[in-house]
Symmetry: C2
Subunit: 154 residues, 2 copies
DNA sequence: ATTACTGTGACGTGGCGTCAAAGTAG
DNA sequence: ACTACTTTGACGCCACGTCACAGTAA
């Protein structure tokens, strides 16, 4: 009631910005990964910028960690709980409960972190290997290219 | 005819070593990602160590790059062509043809390399973010834990 | 009224998981 | 004759892609 006018986006715009299809957005909603957005009178969905970021987060998790949507849902929920805690930061009677949530969030985050680190190491190894490979290939190619024994560079 | 006795593995052993199911191995074969292995009289498949490595390569490509099996097939085939070139390295009349193959192999390798680099950068960003997050969480948790204003370290 | 966008089904696809029923190895 | 392993179907599931057809926005 007291916020600035949010630029609401239709499903097509969100799809374009995030690089997923409309089908995917509806599917995520159906699966509980996106909270049902507000609608216009006719029933058209109206998304916010938050939703866009949410989708991007989901996609990163799929692409970088290849988690299932179920797993991603868990993580996203943990993430939300965390943001809520940050927002309503009044310390009431539920100190213990909040501590528990934080601990759970930390555990989940740590799990992700180890996955990320493992992937990172493997990817680095792969990267090094491919760079070596490229140099090798370049060597061979220029070897075949410069067929006259002595000319143009060594 | 003149090789050392290869220890041939049955599908179950391959499955165990590679961490995929037997179903997956048969599926890869069906899709042309693994060449049909030799069989015993009864029809049981007999794999080689090469096959094991092949499967591991396929899995890395799925897990790290999440490519489709079709894409992986392309890459694996290019990789094979390359190894063949390395093996039969007699320089005959087909110098030009071989050069072309090398160039194709280089192009494919380079494509892969850019994909790997992009993923690497994104993963590094994610990793940094998560480490920050963890520190933040730890701070908050120990904040709630040590409820008495002044005690045990800051 | 027209054109572009969106709504909800419903069926298809890729990459396997998971039985089931029958054959093989040792 | 047993037991453990393997064979080929066939159906199921997830994460969407792809129509089809009707309704909505401007």
């Amino acid at each position: 009631v007291a916020a600035q006018q949010r630029a609401e986006l239709q499903i097509g715009e969100v799809a374009e910005r995030t690089g997923v299809t409309q089908r995917t957005l509806r599917f995520y909603e159906e699966k509980g990964l996106l909270k049902p957005p507000t609608r216009m009178e006719g029933g058209f969905r109206l998304y916010t910028e938050e939703d866009v970021q949410r989708v991007e987060q989901i996609r990163r998790m799929q692409n970088l960690l290849n988690l299932s949507l179920a797993e991603i849902k868990e993580m996203v929920e943990a993430d939300e709980a965390l943001q809520q805690i940050r927002a309503e930061y009044r310390r009431d009677a539920e100190v213990e409960q909040r501590r528990q949530q934080l601990i759970r969030a930390r555990a989940i985050t740590e799990q992700q972190h180890t996955i990320v680190r493992q992937k990172l190491e493997q990817l680095q190894a792969m990267n090094d290997q491919m760079e070596k490979r490229l140099q090798q290939l370049d060597g061979w190619i220029s070897n075949l290219e410069t067929r006259r024994p002595a000319e143009a560079a060594r």
